[in-house]
């Protein structure tokens, strides 16, 4: 990671490694499977109806929007699928499809979508420039007077995601972001680590949610 050196005494290095190994082993049972994008393509046959062949999903004004999966972090996708299966995340439309996948298929499908180039998002066209500016402020700087921390402080620079816990939200459909923020507000979604998203979502106004969803949807993510 960026040429970091581990410092301190050799004793400490050993201690640190031991700790890391221990955690790795504990988590290992759940994530030992390796995803294969080719197998994932085959298993994703049932996903394309909503999430589309290019993983772009669809913004559905006034209805349930289907999130873009293309370019999302594989471990994040896999966690969401397991969460649907085990009731940690609720979605009547997603549950039956998640239940069709076994553990291997989950990591395969996750790998398949994660390798696709990020697609453009839709939605949020109905907000005016002032609201869009509010969205940009929330995404990049937050509104600390209301203790709303910026999206990018966890979702990373340009809100393209950080590690496997903080998904990319730039170029995600406005309708989807909006529905998820509302779900967190209403405690209908709570599968975020340590309630990090829930705590912030609850401080957002309806207008804040519309603003930030529209602005994030308007952002393009450069393909590598």
């Amino acid at each position: 990671m960026n040429g970091k050196r581990f410092m301190g005494t050799s004793k400490r290095i050993t201690g640190g490694l031991g700790l890391l190994l221990g955690v790795g082993l504990a988590a290992g049972q759940a994530v030992a499977l390796e995803g294969d994008a080719e197998r994932g393509q085959a298993a994703a046959g049932t996903c394309v109806a909503c999430h589309q062949a290019d993983g772009s999903g669809m913004n559905v004004p006034g209805g349930e929007s289907w999130p873009r999966l293309a370019g999302m972090d594989a471990d994040y996708i896999a966690k969401q699928l397991h969460d649907f299966q085990e009731g940690r995340r609720q979605s009547a439309s997603m549950l039956p499809f998640a239940n069709m996948l076994d553990d291997q298929q989950i990591v395969d499908v996750a790998a398949y979508y994660s390798e696709m180039p990020v697609t453009e998002a839709q939605g949020g066209d109905d907000v005016d420039d002032a609201l869009l500016a509010r969205g940009e402020k929330l995404a990049l700087r937050g509104d600390w007077d209301a203790y709303i921390v910026s999206c990018m402080s966890c979702h990373g620079p340009r809100n393209e995601g950080a590690g496997s816990d903080f998904p990319g939200i730039s170029s995600q459909h406005a309708g989807y972001i909006e529905s998820q923020l509302r779900a967190w507000q209403a405690d209908e979604r709570r599968n975020d680590p340590q309630n990090l998203m829930g705590a912030v979502a609850k401080r957002m106004s309806d207008e804040d949610i519309r603003a930030v969803s529209a602005w994030l949807a308007s952002q393009s993510v450069a393909s590598e």
Binding site: K4, R12, A130, A133, W144, Y147, V149
Partner: protein, 347 residues
Amino acid sequence: MKQSRTTLAVASTTLIAGVSLAVSADTLHPAVETLVGLGYPAPQEDELVHIPPTMADLEASDMHPETKAVIRRGHDLFTNTQQLRGENVHNDMNCSSCHLGEGRQPFSAPVWAAAVTLPDYRGKNDHVNNLEERIAGCFAYSMNGTPPEYGSDDMLALTAYHQWLAKGAPMYPDQPIYGRGFPPPERPDELSYASGEALYMENCAICHSEDGSGLYQDGEYIFPPPWGDGSNNWGAGLVRVFTAAGFIKNNMPLGQPNSLSDQEAWDIAYYMSSQERPQDPRYTGDVAETLERFGPTFHRHSLYGQEGPDGEILADHANWGEKGDEITPWNVGVPRFEALKEALEAQ
């Protein structure tokens, strides 16, 4: 390009800012109401409450366009100090890693306070510091680097941003400042390393990582490292356990202030403060000697030179972090007003 539609928009939802209020119960600014709702103390009768202006206020102001540009540059340096990496910054931190909310946030060492209380005597370097010298100190210790020159463009931009945030606040206020610094919770009788470690793994590691290295992804800053080579060095204010406890209690986990108990905040601070980090630039070459010299004014609050969790002496090394031993901050150990000081002592 989709992005172009945002460029001309100007935020219109500005609250009154750049205001300082004498406190009375019915004049609580919405920002302060938010804080009280989150478990922060309400302002005391005699406290100075200052709501710094925002960047939107700056754009809306009628200051000279070049002045605005310089203040904007200061804000940019403050929130993305990594752009000075390799020159003035030799770790993985930004100013805003610790001074949350772009340096505006109460209980997160809001930086405008320095602009209205300095020049003033500072025990840490035993002389009167102005705002530039105070900021230079952050570069030497918190950024494990060496500061931009006094009067340089970058230094001027940073001080301009600090002073802009202080807009409307009284100079040399007689009143105590609401939310100044990182007010520490009351220190519990016992601190537990083991409990601190467990709490860190449970509450902090998701962002700051299990080994304390934070997260730098594809060459970009994401989460700051609380210890190790990428963190502040042993001379930074945050190595004082009470300061770390104050930071944690008031600000962490991000978005959930005051969610940890006093004991938990102190235990995590104690765990974090027991880890290694780059050497204090004031190091004499001997950890015990350095401790003796700087203990009374600083390190009596840190674990510098104390026995660490594995029985080793903390900071007993010449690891300077990324800056190596070639670069030494030019501002450390430079006395000022020596003749004045002598005259004062002779009295």
